[in-house]
């Protein structure tokens, strides 16, 4: 039946349904991904951020919240310049992490 309107899907993250198996496999090779404190240094120093919204912080958070598609889309705008790796206070090799994320999410 057509009511003339439709309900948009909920944007809430339901942690009960988030499938983290790929994230867990990624974290096995990139254990440092768990150390992120969401300080935003990577995004603030990223030359692509202003144009495309590229942000390692958001990518990490996205994977942890099961938003894999959005992350994959965002990562395509990274230039792999490595600036973010230089500023991360947790010493995460973010450039290496980005490469690993790309590899993992392409494999599937």
């Amino acid at each position: 039946m057509d009511f003339g309107f439709k309900i948009s899907p909920s944007s809430a993250v339901n942690l009960d349904n988030v499938d983290l198996s790929l994230y867990d496999r990624l974290a096995e090779v990139e254990p440092d991904i768990r150390k992120c404190i969401a300080c935003g240094s990577c995004s603030a120093s990223c030359p692509a951020n202003r144009f495309s919204g590229m942000s390692v912080r958001k990518a990490i958070l996205g994977l942890q919240r099961g938003k894999e598609k959005e992350v994959a889309k965002m990562l395509s705008t990274c230039m792999l310049c490595g600036k973010c790796s230089m500023v991360c206070p947790r010493g995460i090799n973010t450039r290496h992490l980005i490469l690993s994320i790309c590899k993992f999410y392409k494999e599937d």
Binding site: I37, C39, G40, S41, S43, A44, N49, S55, V87, P89
Partner: protein, 339 residues
């Protein structure tokens, strides 16, 4: 004869311990490498949480220790271990024999010029928390314009919680110090726009949360959750500060007249040197290692050697004083047990 107790460091920890040991009937000897007593607190202006003048705290302690032997501008040159005591040679040529040593060597401030991206020592309007306390005390600092800054910022966690600076620890007192200093600046310059750039606000202590609420509600301090990524200067000589506002997920840029870096608390390298003379262990955070971090924080793993204050990690003034009293009591128990 009264027992000698050698106290290394004449900051508030060393002074408070000496004052208690005098009352317990001992002969404390303070060795202080600088030319004044009081350590870092002697450089501060007003202390959180009650805005007590720092000078009051220091002068009370100095008065209470007037009976103690105090050597200024003096360090430990070398230490000989005797059968059950130490023979300690001071840099002024005096030697002391004692069975009991108290480390009250405190901390060092992180050298903010090491974080080049923040421009300390490069741009004229960048100062540290310590510089600002100094200005509160003396009113002298060319970096602060007479009419006050139109806009200024505080950068939290400078050289703390930072693997790149090789100091992953939280310095504990700088969040509350930033908020305290922000309020003090707003009191002096009500027109100024003041920002705090933080990663987490660690308001753990008595009345700290009240400072935070008051900073927001009464003083309109603006809190931005994001770590400053870089500071640069524009043609007019103003500072451009960049960060990500992680709450909106957008990059932020702001033009400031003054930036205060909250330099962290790190282990004092002189402490490590002196501790090395008697092979005292250092903990994984770089500070002196206690026998037990819960039950025996004021005891070293070596017999007769005790700790008080910030030499074992970042501490507030009341925590330091409480520890110094506790160390004095431990020393008293130790000496009584030996007799």
């Amino acid at each position: 004869m009264k027992d000698n107790i050698l106290i290394i460091g004449g900051g508030i920890a060393g002074l408070e311990a000496a004052s208690q040991l005098l009352k317990l009937g001992y002969n404390p000897i303070i060795v202080e490498k600088s030319d004044h007593l009081g350590g870092h607190v002697a450089d501060w202006n007003r202390l959180f949480p009650d805005m007590t003048p720092a000078e009051e705290v220091v002068s009370r302690l100095v008065a209470e220790t007037s009976e103690a032997n105090i050597f200024l501008n003096t360090e430990i040159s070398f230490v000989n271990k005797l059968k059950d005591s130490y023979n300690i040679m001071l840099s002024n040529g005096i030697s002391v024999i004692t069975g009991t040593l108290l480390f009250a060597t405190g901390f060092s401030m992180f050298d903010a010029s090491k974080k080049e991206e923040y421009g300390y020592g490069i741009y004229n309007q960048v100062m540290t928390n310590r510089d600002l306390e100094h200005w509160f005390n003396t009113g002298k600092d060319a970096r602060i314009p007479e009419e006050g800054p139109a806009a200024m910022g505080f950068v939290h966690c400078v050289g703390s919680r930072d693997e790149k600076a090789r100091n992953p620890q939280c310095s504990k007192v700088c969040c509350i110090t930033a908020v305290k200093q922000a309020i003090e600046m707003k009191q002096k310059f009500p027109e100024a726009m003041i920002y705090c750039f933080y990663m987490d606000l660690r308001m753990f202590g008595k009345k700290y949360e009240d400072f935070y609420i008051s900073a927001q509600r009464d003083y309109g301090i603006r809190f931005i959750r994001g770590r400053v990524s870089e500071v640069s200067e524009n043609i007019e000589g103003k500072l451009i500060v960049k960060a990500e506002d992680t709450l909106s997920g957008k990059p932020v840029k702001v033009t400031l007249d003054l930036l205060v870096l909250m330099a962290g608390i790190v282990c004092n390298p002189d402490t490590c040197k002196t501790a090395g003379l008697i092979s005292l262990p250092v903990d994984s955070d770089g500070f002196l290692k206690s026998r037990d971090n819960i039950a025996d924080i004021t005891e070293s793993p070596k017999e007769g050697i005790f700790y008080a204050g910030a030499c074992t990690g970042p501490k507030t003034v009341p925590e330091t004083l409480a520890e110094a009293r506790s160390a004095a009591l431990e020393i008293h128990n130790y000496i009584s047990r030996k007799k």
